[in-house]
């Protein structure tokens, strides 16, 4: 794998100039003739009965083309558990419940019309604390399930229970144990581009849906089901992406606003766009799930972990989206971070009248890692072992099979921890308790796809045009992370072209082959693997053409030279050098014999061969095109929640140095080191970009960010009060790339989209403890919490 020409190079991102110069077509720029603008009316209560809705005044407002309520559309259930409808008829169960929607000729008129809709509510008692909601006599958020069967409890019927070994026995045999309760908050994904879509039906009710989804085929399927359920059978649906300004989990599920947009388009027979304001993005888009963990761990007298027992309670909110499935990823660190033989984990998702949650970068991993890594530090201290050493003793090794059944292939966790220790000056700085401290945390994440659906595959089709542009058609998406650049590098390497020859077509269900979605850090790995394979096929086809045409071209050229110059002596050429594709290679657009790479007659620019191959006269000729559908060799989790659901796993560690102001409780990060096992960095600067970005989100998670809910209502729905970090809060992040090429990865690469976020917050919390001796187990670590904890400690 040496001698790579394009993989491993810092090739600048391809599409970004258009973005920074304003040329890129984001959802705002995506316009259709006659397009209308949709707006949604949300509930005014966390829980209420809708007594009446009057839309007359709104309908009469000039410029309004449609006003719809739950009574105007079929009462069809949507969502992961089918526990909600698109527009709510009788009951609202959360503040973001969609009660009515308007389509108008301008967004302003639509907004105006919302104010004219009169809704009469009868408020009902609401429940906001999941612990309260779990009690047997708690009022029910849902009286029935999706099929109308009565429900007896607010606890969701989900199977999040995992057991390996004998935790009870291991606890008794442990020399040391530590128990902690930790909480993580709701946080908003804060995409730069807010949510939106455009729905457009043709006269046969076929749907063109411009959506920001990163799962275009999943979205198509959900919409297909929805259309079927509302009586539109056999309609063609095409899902396309505009340029997308970030996803971070928000584009995984099909959201209610998208179904509303479809309904408005159906009703008005016009293209309709819905576009969220930032306030809506905060209050009407599901954030990362909040969770409460109780974690207990034990180790023997040498510091080897003996058991881990985790219980989690997840506030599900009023309905169910992907948030309720985050335990499937919490399981990763809980079962498999460090070697721990006996593990039990149970997660309980509870309905409340809070807003519901969905996916966010890292899925359940950052939440669970905060629990595990907080406990690791605590247990290390109890056992009297240095926290870094404790992690080193218990680290994962290549070849391990974890209690969950994960098969660890490559695993440079040791190098990651060592790099962090060194760069953060661990030995010199740890344990001073002088207001400055260092802390660390590690991570494991899926890095070779994640079999959450029956298929975890991706199809890639590569066609090479007659002059040598390489079109790559993929069912994947790009939400801004730079995938087109990475795929272009991989395709250039595999085919023998240059990255600038490669043209990537993403995000169109009509052009791309099926893909499971650009999620779970899987794109570079899975699509990359498909791309390598398809690229190699393309190259083979071209070399076959070369065997056929290079001799002809050479001979023709020699003949012409002879004709021009009778004194010309034809050289003796050894045509066996190029008589089979195996003897040829194609790199950087040049075809040459492997045995004589600089051969003056045989070395040929690829474009000449392509033209010769195509333009042969009448009848059939050969166009260069290949496609590969690749699905990694992995397993779906079984009923016991076990199975090797990724082809390989990524490891990493973060180290943080903080300074804590003991009088104000402020935590300042002096340095953050984030070392990651990436297999191979296809594009090191893009890898670093992923690490920096994830680390920053991790710092926000650790110190400042939270969606604040008061009685179910989001009270900080803007960037003034939602404290995402600004450019001025820049902290020095050192990204360390650890390369240990994975045999299963494309050129050895592993996924790196999510990992950087995972260990950051717990590393900060552990550093705070090292600095001042108080452990904050409730994110974010605000100055108030630090000061209160210090005061409590001082008594």
């Amino acid at each position: 794998m040496d001698n790579l020409l394009h993989v491993g190079k810092n090739i600048p991102r391809t599409a970004e100039t258009d973005k920074v110069t304003g040329r890129a077509v984001y959802m705002d720029e995506y316009k259709r003739p006659g397009m209308l603008h949709g707006k949604i009316l949300y509930s005014r209560y966390a829980h209420a009965r809708i007594k009446s809705i009057n839309t007359e005044k709104a309908k009469n407002l000039p410029g309004v083309r449609a006003v719809i309520t739950g009574y105007d559309i079929p009462d069809v259930r949507v969502g992961f558990l089918g526990d909600q409808t698109v527009l709510k008829r009788d009951l609202v169960r959360q503040f973001r419940d969609e009660v009515a929607a308007v389509a108008a000729i301008t967004p302003e008129i639509a907004e105006e019309a919302l104010k004219l809709i009169e809704v009469e509510y009868e408020p009902l008692p609401a429940i906001f604390d999941p612990l309260e909601a779990m009690k047997p006599d708690a009022p029910l958020v849902h009286e029935t399930d999706a099929r109308g069967r009565p429900l007896r409890s607010n606890i969701l019927p989900l199977p999040w229970k995992f057991n390996a070994g004998d935790v009870e026995k291991a606890r008794q045999e442990s020399a040391y144990t530590a128990t902690d309760s930790v909480n993580t908050p709701w946080i908003n994904q804060c995409c730069m581009g807010t949510s939106g879509c455009v729905a457009e039906f043709d006269s046969n009710n076929n749907l063109m849906f411009c959506s920001q989804t990163n799962v275009i085929f999943g979205a198509k399927q959900r919409i297909q089901t929805y259309l079927l359920n509302i009586g539109l059978k056999g309609k063609k649906i095409r899902v396309i992406n505009p340029t997308v300004g970030g996803s971070f989990g928000t584009k995984l599920d099909t959201d209610i606003y998208e179904f509303i947009c479809i309904q408005l388009a159906l009703k008005t027979r016009k293209p309709v766009r819905i576009r969220f304001t930032r306030e809506e993005e905060f209050m009407a888009l599901p954030p990362r799930q909040t969770a409460r963990f109780t974690i207990e761990q034990g180790c023997d007298k040498n510091g080897l972990l003996t058991f881990r027992k985790v219980e989690a309670i997840l506030d599900n909110g009023a309905y169910t989206s992907w948030g309720a499935t985050t335990p499937s990823v919490m399981m990763l660190p809980i079962s498999s971070m460090y070697r721990v033989p006996n593990v039990s984990f149970q997660a309980t998702c509870v309905y409340t009248n809070n807003i519901y949650s969905q996916a966010m970068r890292g899925y359940g991993n950052p939440q669970a890692a905060f629990a595990v890594e907080t406990s690791m530090d605590h247990l290390a201290e109890t056992a009297g072992i240095d926290a870094a050493e404790f992690r080193m003793i218990n680290r994962n090794h290549p070849g391990d099979v974890t209690p969950m059944g994960l098969k660890i292939t490559t695993c440079p966790l040791e190098q990651c921890i060592t790099a962090v220790k060194e760069k953060i000056k661990w030995d010199e700085k740890r344990g001073k308790r002088n207001g400055r401290g260092v802390g660390m945390a590690s991570l494991i994440h899926v890095a070779g796809g994640a079999r959450v659906y029956l298929s975890d595959g991706t199809g890639i089709r590569i066609k090479v045009n007659e002059s040598g542009e390489v079109d790559v058609l993929s069912g994947s998406t790009d939400q801004g992370q730079g995938s087109p650049t990475v795929i272009a590098q991989i395709v250039a390497e595999a085919t023998g072209f240059k990255p600038e020859d490669v043209n990537i077509v993403f995000g169109d269900t009509a052009l791309g082959l099926w893909d499971a979605g650009t999620h779970a850090s899987r794109h570079t790995f899975v699509a990359g693997n498909a791309a390598v394979r398809a690229g190699e096929k393309v190259k083979q086809q071209i070399l076959e053409l070369a065997v056929q045409y290079i001799p002809k071209m050479v001979k023709r050229s020699l003949k012409q030279q002879k004709k021009k110059n009778p004194d010309f002596v034809e050289p003796e050429l050894d045509y066996t050098l190029i008589d089979s594709p195996e003897k040829l290679d194609l790199r950087n657009r040049m075809i040459f014999p492997k045995a004589a790479p600089d051969h003056p007659h045989f070395k040929t620019e690829v474009g000449k061969i392509l033209t010769s191959g195509l333009h042969v006269g009448t009848g059939e000729s050969k166009a260069v095109v290949a496609e590969v559908f690749w699905d990694p060799p992995t397993e779906m989790l079984n009923a016991e929640m076990k199975g090797n659901y990724s082809c390989t796993y990524a490891f990493g560690a973060a180290g943080v140095e903080v300074e804590v102001d003991r009088q104000t409780g402020e935590v300042k990060i002096l340095k953050l080191v984030s070392a990651h096992d990436v297999g191979r960095a296809i594009n090191p600067s893009l890898v670093k970009g992923q690490i920096y970005g994830a680390a920053y989100i991790g710092v926000g998670y650790g110190l400042t960010e939270r969606v604040q809910l008061v009685d179910g209502k989001v009270v900080n729905p803007n960037f003034r009060d939602y404290k995402i970090l600004t450019a001025n809060d820049a902290i020095p992040v050192e990204a360390v790339i650890i390369e240990d090429p994975d045999p299963a990865g494309p050129y050895g690469a592993k996924g790196i989209g999510e990992p950087g976020l995972v260990p950051t917050a717990p590393a900060i919390a552990n550093a705070v403890y090292d600095a001042i001796g108080v452990r904050i187990k409730d994110l974010p670590i605000t100055p108030e919490k630090v000061l209160a904890a210090l005061k409590a400690k001082e008594g």
């Binding site: 104000t664 001025n728 809060d729 108030e784």
Partner: protein, 324 residues
């Protein structure tokens, strides 16, 4: 969103005349408060009278104290060497407003007239004894800033009146001032609390010793101890607090209590306690009352100390991010 007419007078007189004749009119300077309020539909003016083209509102006059036009932007203040040295608290505050983009358009006049309890430049103007210069159809008048704030977003302006500028007295070279914005991030944030201080000191001895103690290093207790050994006496002190009451307020009892005393760690702590007793913070989503009160205790002393730092070592611009 409301529709409004936008007027662009060239002179103060013209502006006052427009205000007089137009229905439901509102002044707009940088617009960074006004437009937000209009978008939130908390304000629905039929007419906006822009002050942006009135050149007579834009001046920084450093003869005899400091005179500022209402139209001066936060950037202009934060970048002004003279203000940074002699009216440091104001430069601290102006430099901490919003972000560079906001500071480039937002004005002092707008900040003071909007009169948010969190307005960053309010506390500095309170400790610097500023007077507000007002013009209107009834003529010009001047109001001490402490009488100008009436409550949240309420100021002592009569209908149609506008603020033309601010007058700040010359405070002498033995005076320094500072403003501490205690916020959750470094930009685009409102303070959890803001504290401004101004201290005039008498040093019975060698000024250089004081300077050295500040420049020397981190251990603040030692710095204070050295200043105490130098018998550094507070001649006059002002303390103002933001976000702890419906309007930015002075901590007058604390100011009284410190006057004439020799600096010591104990004294600064006591002053902090007194100032805290004068604050009436509330719980809000942006901060809890108990924490705000605690911060008054801590940051009052720090702001005073930072002020002293500015007297003894103005050329160092003793403005480290952290003293502790």
């Amino acid at each position: 969103m409301s529709n409004y007419e936008y007027h662009k007078p060239q002179t103060v007189k013209e502006a006052i005349g427009l205000m007089e004749s137009l229905e439901n009119a509102k002044y707009i300077a940088g617009g960074t408060d006004v437009i937000v309020l209009v978008k939130q539909e908390k304000l629905a003016p039929a007419n906006l009278v822009s002050l942006r083209n009135i050149s007579e509102l834009v001046y920084i006059d450093t003869k005899d104290g400091l005179k500022l036009g209402a139209g001066v932007t936060h950037s202009a203040i934060a970048n002004n060497e003279f203000i940074r040295k002699r009216y440091s608290a104001l430069a601290d505050a102006a430099g901490a407003v919003g972000s560079k983009q906001i500071r480039n358009v937002a004005t002092m006049g707008g900040n003071i007239c909007n009169a948010a309890p969190s307005a960053d430049t309010a506390c500095p103007l309170l400790v610097l004894d500023a007077k507000i210069v007002i013009d209107g159809k009834a003529g010009k008048r001047e109001v001490p800033i402490d009488d100008f704030f009436l409550g949240p977003n309420k100021v002592a302006l009569n209908a149609g009146e506008l603020v033309t500028g601010f007058v700040l007295p010359d405070l002498g070279s033995n005076t320094g001032s500072a403003y501490i914005k205690h916020a959750r991030r470094q930009a685009m944030d409102l303070p959890i609390i803001g504290i401004a201080a101004r201290a005039a000191i008498k040093i019975d001895g060698n000024e250089a010793v004081c300077r050295d103690s500040f420049v020397a290093g981190n251990d603040i207790s030692q710095t204070i101890k050295r200043l105490e050994d130098e018998r550094l006496v507070f001649e006059d002190v002002r303390i103002a607090m933001g976000v702890v009451a419906p309007r930015p307020v002075r901590a007058k009892k604390a100011e009284e209590a410190i006057k004439g005393k020799i600096i010591s760690e104990k004294l600064l702590k006591e002053i902090g306690e007194i100032a805290a007793s004068e604050s009436q913070p509330r719980d809000s989503i942006r901060g809890e009352a108990w924490y705000r009160r605690e911060m008054v205790k801590v940051l009052t002393g720090r702001a005073i100390l930072r002020s002293i730092g500015r007297i003894v070592g103005p050329e160092q611009m003793t403005n480290p991010n952290r003293l502790w």
